[in-house]
Every structure is written in C-alpha cells, then in structure tokens.
C-alpha cells in the first residue's frame, strides 16, 4: 500500500543562479547572492540597491598617492555632511556605507590617524549615499569608494593590474584628486609627478572630447594644508602654480572643468617612534575646506 507524500520542489530556486546579476561597476555577470563581483571585487550590494531603489547612482572617485589623506577626507566629509543640514546633507545608503565614517572618526577622536587602506579591493570601504542640496530639488545618488593609493599607483604603472580601478574610473562622473600640500611645499616634487600621472591616465582612459575625461569635472584638493602657509586657503591656484607647476599646466591644457582647493583636518601633528617607524599623531581635529571641493563637484555634475 502506498501513501502519498508531498515534498516541496526547491529546484526552481536554482533558476536564480542561471540569471546573471550584473556588477554595477564593471558590468560583469555574477550569481545573484554573490557578495563581491567575481570580476572586479566591487560589492554586489551596490547593484542590488540600484535595482531595488530604481536609481542609477553616479560615481565619484577620491584618488591620490598613498598617504595623501583620502581615507581621512572621505570619512570626515561623510561625517560632516551627515551632521550638517544647511547647505548640503548626506544620507548613507546601507550599513556598509557608515563603516568608513565610523572607523575614521573613532581614530581621529583618539588623536590617531585611521589604519592604512589595504591593497586588496575586497577590503575597501564603499560609501553609497544620497546627497541633498539646499538649492536642488532632486537629491543626487553617489557611490564613492576608498581606494588604496598603492593599488592605484600600480594600476597607473601596469594597467589592468586592478580591473576594479580601471572599470570604476572609466564609469566615474568626476574625480577628487588628492595631493599632499605639506610635502609639495617642502619641495617634494614626487607628488607633482604622481598627480600629473593620474591626470594623464584619466585622459587616456577616455579621451572623448564631450563625454570623456577632458570634459568631466576634476577637483584638485591640496590636503594637509593646515601644515602649510595660511595663504594656501585663500589662493589654492597660486599654490598650485608655485609648488606643482607640472600639475597646474597639465590641468590647464587637458581638463576643461577643474578647480583647485585646499583642505586640512588636523591643526598640527607630532610624531611617535614605534617599531614600525615614525608614526604621525594629530594633535587636534579642526576640519577646514572639506565641503567646498565636494560641493563644487556635485554642482558640476
């Protein structure tokens, strides 16, 4: 004698694995429950958010050599704008978007700089946010990763070492290029060359006159300006002309939309000798000129 038994057929769920979920950054296909893109290591959460919220976020890159201050800048910017509500406001999309802000501010609050961003793309922090401006009716959706400076430099020297960087910069609407002003003023020309390399790389990446990098907004941000002469905050263009002549001329020649800005987060620094070497210690936190370059970028987009 046989007895009817009902067994749920879950096999149809396997169909989801057949349909490829495209990565938002590189467009490569991934299984639907992948955390990171198997092609470029970008978080798949960006893709899911874009699909569920029916928005197409724009991408902005904060790039510069290692130690230029990208992590501190992005962390500080997101914290400033998530507290401030008069000119501009940032609303984080997803819990992962707050990690960068949290880590940076926790370190600065104890007079320390945040840990160096690791070279592995799967360990980078991503910031997906909605930007509201007082004079703009519709908010802007933005994605900003905290790229590692060393990876970027490797990608510049050997293209396609980091596919994520290549794909991301190709799709970016605009770039915030960070340059260490304190080293520049001290006569370290290597930062001028790094910055020139980046601008040249961008222009080679997409050289179309209208949609390409020559016509996309680039804000050149002189970081650590609080360690330089105070005039840098009043006349960043003049500072660029004097201390980064190569970058100044390259921007003039190759970028139609560019602006020079000066920012500082710590008032003054000291050093601590550790086993790993000299460690920079911020003596106080007083952000200056953080919002202006970002505001300029968003207005240009």
């Amino acid at each position: 004698m046989s007895k009817n038994a009902y067994q749920e057929m879950d096999s149809y769920r396997l169909a989801q694995y057949v349909v490829q979920a495209p990565c938002y950054v590189c467009g490569g296909g991934n299984v639907f429950d992948a955390e990171l893109c198997r092609h470029c290591s970008a978080p798949m959460a960006l893709s899911h958010q874009a699909n569920t919220q029916k928005v197409r976020p724009q991408m902005v890159a904060a790039i510069g050599p290692s130690g230029a201050g990208k992590t501190v800048y992005l962390g500080m910017l997101s914290d400033l704008l998530s507290r401030q509500n008069d000119r501009m406001q940032i609303l984080a999309r997803g819990a992962f978007s707050i990690s960068l802000q949290q880590a940076t501010l926790a370190a600065l609050g104890r007079c320390r700089f945040p840990e160096k961003t690791p070279n592995e793309p799967d360990r980078w922090n991503w910031l997906h946010c909605q930007v509201k401006m007082a004079k703009r009716r519709r908010p802007v959706e933005l994605i900003m990763p905290d790229l590692a400076g060393e990876s970027l430099m490797q990608e510049l020297d050997r293209p396609n070492t980091y596919p994520l960087i290549n794909h991301f910069l190709n799709r970016c609407s605009s770039v915030m290029l960070m340059v260490d002003a304190a080293d520049l003023e001290a006569g370290d020309e290597s930062h001028d060359y790094f910055a020139m390399k980046i601008v040249s790389y961008l222009c080679e990446l997409d050289s179309r006159p209208r949609q390409g990098w020559p016509n996309r907004p680039v804000s050149v941000i002189f970081t650590k300006a609080d360690e330089c002469s105070p005039s840098i905050f009043h006349k960043p263009d003049e500072f660029a002309r004097r201390h980064a002549p190569g970058l100044f001329r390259t921007c003039r020649e190759r970028l139609h939309k560019h602006g020079f800005f000066a920012t500082g987060v710590v008032g003054c620094c000291a050093y601590r000798n550790t086993i790993a070497g000299k460690l920079q210690v911020p003596l106080r936190i007083e952000p200056r000129g953080i919002v202006e370059p970002f505001e300029w970028i968003v207005k240009q987009m």
Binding site: R110, R112, C268, Y271
Partner: protein, 419 residues
C-alpha cells in the same frame, strides 16, 4: 679792512673807560710834575693803577656769557622760574603718560611696586578699577594636570598625573581683542626690541599681515577687518602674544594657571582636587561655547556666551579660539612617552570655533603648535601674578600661607621643566 677795524673796536671797547681814565691820569701826572707837586703826582699814579685794575676786571668779565654779565641777580630768578616751568611740564607729561597708559590698557604696569609710588590717589584708583574690570582673581591652591596621552589618547595612567600648587594670580576675563592689539601695533610694539624674546629678533620682520605691514597674519594694511573690533585677535605667534603681554605689563599664563582658572579645583582633604570638565560643569552644552558643533563657523566677540563663564568670571575659556600658554607642549608627559616634535612647540588650550570633538575642548585637553605658527584660530589672554602687584594691594587679597601638602608639586619649581 672792515673786519680788522671791527675786531679792533670790539677788543678796545671794554677798555675804553679805563684807558680814558689812564689818559686823564697821565696828563694830570705831567701837569703836577711840571708844577712840582709830588703829592699830586703820587695820586695820579695811584689812579692809573686803579684804572689798570678795572681794565683787567672788565677783560675777565667779557669771557662770561652776555646774559649773565648783563642780567646779574634777575638771571638767577629767571633760571629758577624756568626750572619750575620744566618741572611743571614734566609733571604734566607724566600725568599725560599715565592717562595714555590707562587708555592703552597698561594699568598692570602702573600697579607695579616700582611705579605705583609715582601715581596720585585718583590714578591708583583708576588703575585698580581697570584691573578689577578686566581681570579675574584666581586664589592660590592645587590643580591636577593630566598628561597628553591621558586626555587625548584616553590611554593614561592616573599615577602619571601631576598635582601642582599655583600662587594666586589675575587672568584676563576676555581674550585679547583686535582693538586692544591694534594699540600695541600703533604704539610701535613691533619695533621695540626690548619687548621681544631675543630668540626671535631676526624673525620679527616676518610677522606681517597680508599686505606686508607689521601685525597679525589675518589683518590687512595694518588693520583688522571692519566690524571685528571685539573679536579675539588671531594669526599671532606665541612670540607676538608674549611681546604684547610684556607691553601691557603682564605675561602669558602657565598651563597650570590656565587649567586652575578654568576647572576651578576644590580641595579634597589633601588628596587629588576635584575639578570641572568644563568651566560651567561636567556636561557639554553647545550653547555655552563656540565650537564646531555650535555651527557658527567663525569667532564671536569676546563678551558673548555669558553662560559659559567660569566660576571666577572668565569668559570663553572653552571655544572661540585656542589660547597660547607660557608652557611647552607635552611638558607633563614622561620623557620616554613624549611625542617627537619639530622645533619648539608651545601649549595651547581651550579649543576653538572649529574644534570638531567636544573631548578636545575640555579644561584638561592640551594641544600644541609651533611657537612661530600664526593660525586663524589661535589667540591668547594675559595673566598677572599677585606677587607682581605693589605689596599694598597684594597683601589685601592673598590667602594666608597654605602649608604645602605631601605629593604636591610647586609650580615655580616645575616651571623650569614646563617652560
């Protein structure tokens, strides 16, 4: 020819009378000799001798100044009168100088023991009134100072804390304003080398404003921006602050003095004194201090934010601008745990309008900057030890000598380490 003749006349004129007498005498002698009268001849020779003596006397007088030779007794009176006039003028000048110094806010100089004796009663009263209005007294006592590691990195050991004894002192109620600093600039403060530390003599020429005129870095054409008279002066280095303090007869407060005035310690039976985290209490209130969270984004006039006043009546110790102190940065940390700094770094306290974290704007938090840094958010206020005032005033207000407790460091002794 004319010159020779006039010289001759000048030389001859003083002797004209005696010569005439001698000539008359000579003629008389010859007449009496001819007449045979020996007595008359002797008289004539005597008269010639007198005439010669008179001539010699007149020649001697000719060397002296004309006024004296011509005035005699009235000249002495004139001299007495001119001396009296000079003394009167000097008294007027000294009175004017005292008035000028009071107008410039340099009352502290006038109350110094060496100077106060030259003042009359109303002047002393005025100077004292100015002192009371502009400065607040902090009584002597102990104060707890924590290390930088403990306050900034939250990583300190309570055994590293210092309990210091501080003598009574006056602290400016308000930070030094643009208006006050302008008086110093206009009085030629940047040219008076005696006011400046010899270390910086070669660097004073670099202390210029945006237009290249001597003055704070945030000024232009030797003036501050309109409407900022009562805002704290910023863009001044530690050396400029110290020079201004010297000019007004004061000095910069030490770390211990600053913390004592702000946290107002209360003795704890010889143990660690109990202190406030902020001048108004232990909880932050953003309406009491101008910090980043207040969202003003600029300095405020020094008399604003009355709610944030300290127990002693000192305004804006927290927020608005960082304040230079006399001490070195990190002086309270153990030598092995001290941070490495480039050049001389001085201690600043209190936080500024752009200080982001509340934890970095407490009475205990110390930051530092290069002594030649001229930042947009660093100002200063001055201090005056009670012992620097004339004894008559100091005695009235000093507390009876407190016995030194065990484990309490004397600030004057520790000052050498800190400064």
């Amino acid at each position: 020819m004319t010159t020779i003749a006039s010289t001759l006349v000048q030389r001859v004129r003083p002797c004209f009378l005696p010569l005439a007498v001698a000539a008359v005498g000579g003629v008389g002698f010859l007449v009496s000799w001819a007449a045979g009268s020996w007595l008359l001849a002797a008289l004539t020779i005597a008269s010639l001798g007198v005439a010669g003596g008179v001539c010699w006397f007149l020649r001697r007088r000719r060397v002296r100044p004309r006024s004296e030779s011509s005035a005699g007794e009235p000249a002495v009176k004139e001299e007495v009168r001119s001396r009296a006039r000079r003394a009167e003028n000097a008294a007027d000048e000294s009175e004017d100088l005292i008035e000028e110094m009071l107008r410039q806010g340099r009352y502290a100089l006038l109350l110094r023991p060496q100077i106060v004796g030259n003042l009359n009663e109303p002047q002393v009263r005025n100077a004292l009134e100015d002192l009371e209005a502009a400065m607040a007294l902090t009584p002597e006592g102990t104060v707890l100072l924590r290390t930088w590691r403990a306050t900034a990195e939250h990583d300190g050991d309570p055994s590293d804390d210092h309990v210091m004894r501080v003598e009574a002192f006056y602290l400016d109620r308000y930070p030094v304003t643009n208006r006050e600093y302008l008086r110093f600039v206009e009085a030629g403060g940047y040219e008076q080398m005696s006011l400046w530390d010899p270390d910086i003599w070669s660097g004073i020429l670099d202390f210029v404003d945006r237009s290249g005129a001597p003055g704070p870095g945030e000024w232009e054409n030797g003036r501050y921006a309109p409407g900022r008279d009562d805002h704290p002066v910023v863009g001044v280095s530690w050396y400029e602050a110290a020079a201004y303090a010297r000019w007004v007869g004061k000095r910069l407060p030490t770390d211990a003095e600053w913390v004592k005035a702000a946290s107002w310690p209360v003795g704890n039976g010889g143990g660690r004194p109990m202190q406030r985290k902020y001048p108004w209490g232990d909880a932050m209130d953003h309406t009491f201090a101008n910090l980043w969270a207040t969202q003003i984004g600029d300095t405020l006039p020094v008399s604003k934010l009355e709610e944030g006043v300290s127990v002693g009546g000192v305004y804006q110790l927290i927020g608005n601008v960082w304040e230079w102190t006399h001490s070195n940065f990190g002086a309270w940390d153990e030598a092995a745990k001290r941070l490495e700094i480039q050049g001389a770094m001085k201690s600043i306290r209190g936080g500024a309008f752009d200080t982001y974290f509340d934890s970095q704007a407490t009475c205990q938090f110390q930051s530092g900057d290069s002594s030649i840094a001229r930042k947009h958010n660093i100002g200063f206020r001055c201090c005056l030890g009670l012992c620097d005032l004339a004894p008559n005033f100091a005695e009235d207000w000093s507390a009876p000598g407190a016995a030194q407790s065990e484990g309490v460091e004397n600030e004057t002794g520790a000052l050498e380490a800190a400064v």
